[in-house]
């Protein structure tokens, strides 16, 4: 997937690098870069600076481009009044746990389906992939009832982080991603390990997982962002103020809080995922496309 390789696309290179084509190309490029910056970065600028405006300045027409009298106090108010430290900590805690649970259970399952291939493995894989067709909203009620009273064990998981961690393990897309990657690891390596007398666990730990770092990274990033972005499920299963996630917390406070403070809190809530994206954007984009294209 070379970025600027010489592969021919819709319009040929030569047409774009000569005469009229060149002029059109550069005009279009400048327009698109400017337009995209405005459309996708503009709102974020508006959000960060809007949260710095006073209540009066927000209500003024026409809106000002720069805050005249920046009020960093809005961010401080958001941090203190909404107890953002606690909310961010909760979300972070759920995200890290979700990563660990997914890495352990999903890579073990993918390893089994890819390399050990026990009886009925394909049936199990098909049943797992089938859940991708079931919309989350259809399951929300029975899932909620299940979390209230786990079958057989009769445990109530409400307000327990397991209510977020365990359902995250049931993620067919990640198992599929991991299995595809494990499939590409040569069987000869497995056979060699087997002959050296390594157990299955040992093979997974010392051969498969070290080779799979890129895909494990992708799965981890997906897990973190999924937990960070999720709204309805954590809203239902984490009802106490002490266990809320950051999105749910902001939503709960939005009614009785000045809107510039709500926006300031929204900015703070968005910072972690934006940073993760800027650091790992290559991994995220490659994971996104390999998972869908070849599937």
């Amino acid at each position: 997937m070379a970025q600027d390789s010489g592969t021919r696309t819709l319009i040929s290179h030569s047409q774009l690098s000569r005469g009229r084509g060149k002029v059109i190309y550069w005009t279009l490029l400048v327009v698109v870069v400017a337009g995209f910056t405005l459309v996708f970065l503009g709102p974020l600028y508006w959000m960060v600076t809007g949260a710095l405006k006073s209540g009066q300045e927000i209500a003024q027409t026409p809106p000002s481009l720069f805050p005249k009298d920046p009020q960093p106090q809005n961010y401080i108010d958001a941090w203190n009044n909404l107890a953002l430290a606690k909310l961010l900590f909760n979300t972070f805690y759920y995200a890290i746990g979700a990563v660990l649970f997914q890495l352990v259970f999903d890579s073990a399952a993918a390893y089994s389906l890819s390399k050990l291939r026990p009886m009925f493995g394909n049936v199990i894989l098909a049943l797992m992939l089938g859940t991708l067709m079931i919309p989350a909203m259809v399951l929300i009620v029975p899932q909620y009832v299940t979390v209230l009273d786990l079958p057989i064990l009769h445990i109530n998981l409400l307000d327990s982080p397991f209510a977020i961690w365990l359902p995250m393990v049931a993620n067919a897309f990640n198992i599929f991603l991991l299995k595809r990657f494990f499939d590409s690891i040569p069987e000869e390596l497995m056979a060699a390990a087997l002959m050296d007398g390594a157990s299955s666990l040992r093979t997974l730990w010392s051969i498969i997982l070290p080779l799979s770092r890129p895909i494990l990274g992708v799965v981890s990033i997906f897990a973190v962002t999924a937990v960070w972005k999720d709204f309805l499920w954590p809203k239902l299963v984490m009802p106490s103020p002490e266990t809320r996630t950051v999105s749910v917390g902001i939503y709960t406070f939005a009614g009785g809080t000045p809107m510039n403070v709500v926006i300031a809190a929204s900015v703070i809530a968005a910072i972690p995922t934006v940073i993760i994206f800027l650091i790992f954007q290559r991994n995220i984009m490659s994971g996104l496309t390999t998972g869908s294209i070849k599937g």
């Binding site: 970025q3 870069v33 040569p186 809107m259």
Partner: protein, 318 residues
């Protein structure tokens, strides 16, 4: 060694034999049982999570939709939940709104990313930057992004961003979420902005797989840009196009957080109520989990209908 004696041709394509299956045939029964047990031991954690949080709730949702639980007592009530939920005055409005949103999102959220991807694929500069920009909103927590739209963009006064722009262009301003006609288009714009990045990246990747010779041949035959898109680009990406259309329909039919945050749930004159929001209302506010489960089953049936159409259409093309 057995491995070397297996002729290449007996291997299934794309699926090299497992070292276990390639072992000499005389492996004992005990060995086979043990290998299978090991395999299942590695699966058990994930399978249990699927059982408890996916497969069982699926069945339970259907069972619940024919039951009623009152004061801890559960009884079978036949189709009562269904008739009650259909009699809800918001039921048909919710379906109408949801279909309207899905249709609008198909026009905007489906066609736009495809053409954006075609455009980006032609550029030989600033590609990385543009890709990051398109995907950036996908990384924002939806609640954060929607509060931005609600308070700053869709402010019905002229202090709102969109109204300020419209006014500067001497166009009529809008009441946005307070006007029943604008509610859905406004929600589609917000939703497309938040979600289109994923589709753009997937299209970009599939565009890069189109062999350049096809374009060359089409050009030699005198096909202009539009005809090349119609006769090369679209046929070459049709599987991904069909898949994403399906995924998008499933995703947009579950419209929930947009009405909840932008329109406080129902919106002006019920113009924002969606089916998913109705499920939420019945299940968690009207204390009617059975009715909500019934609505969930109805939604599943409708989406299964869409999937069946999708499977038929894609099967025909091959």
């Amino acid at each position: 060694m057995a491995i070397t004696t297996v002729p290449e041709t007996t291997r299934k394509p794309g699926r090299p034999p497992s070292p276990y299956s390639a072992r000499p045939q005389r492996t004992s029964l005990g060995r086979k049982v043990r290998d299978n047990l090991t395999g299942h031991a590695f699966l058990i954690g994930a399978v249990l999570c699927f059982v408890v949080f996916s497969w069982y709730p699926m069945v339970r949702g259907i069972i619940m939709s024919f039951q009623r639980t009152r004061r801890g007592e559960t009884t079978w009530v036949g189709w009562d939940n269904y008739s009650r939920i259909i009699a809800d005055p918001s039921f048909w409005t919710a379906w109408q709104n949801t279909f309207y949103f899905t249709a609008l999102a198909l026009v905007l959220g489906y066609a736009v990313p495809f053409f954006v991807a075609i455009l980006l694929n032609e550029f030989r500069h600033a590609k990385g930057y543009l890709r990051i920009l398109v995907y950036l909103p996908v990384m924002l927590p939806p609640a954060s992004a929607l509060f931005l739209f609600k308070f700053y963009a869709y402010d019905p006064s002229e202090a709102g961003l969109f109204n300020a722009i419209l006014k500067a262009l001497h166009l009529p301003t809008s009441q946005w979420m307070q006007s029943p006609e604008m509610t859905m288009p406004a929600m589609v714009v917000a939703s497309t902005w938040m979600n289109m990045g994923g589709a753009v990246l997937i299209y970009l990747a599939s565009l890069q797989n189109i062999p350049g010779e096809l374009y060359e041949a089409a050009e030699l035959d005198g096909a202009g840009i539009w005809r090349r898109i119609r006769h090369v680009t679209i046929p070459q990406t049709r599987l991904i196009l069909a898949l994403l259309a399906m995924l998008q329909i499933v995703a947009t039919m579950q419209l929930f957080i947009e009405p909840l945050i932008l329109a406080n749930g129902a919106g002006a004159e019920d113009s924002a109520t969606s089916v998913a929001y109705l499920i939420y209302q019945h299940g968690f506010f009207q204390n009617d989990l059975n009715g909500a489960a019934a609505l969930g089953v109805i939604m599943l049936v409708v989406l299964a209908g869409f999937s069946a159409v999708y499977v038929r259409l894609t099967a025909k093309q091959d």
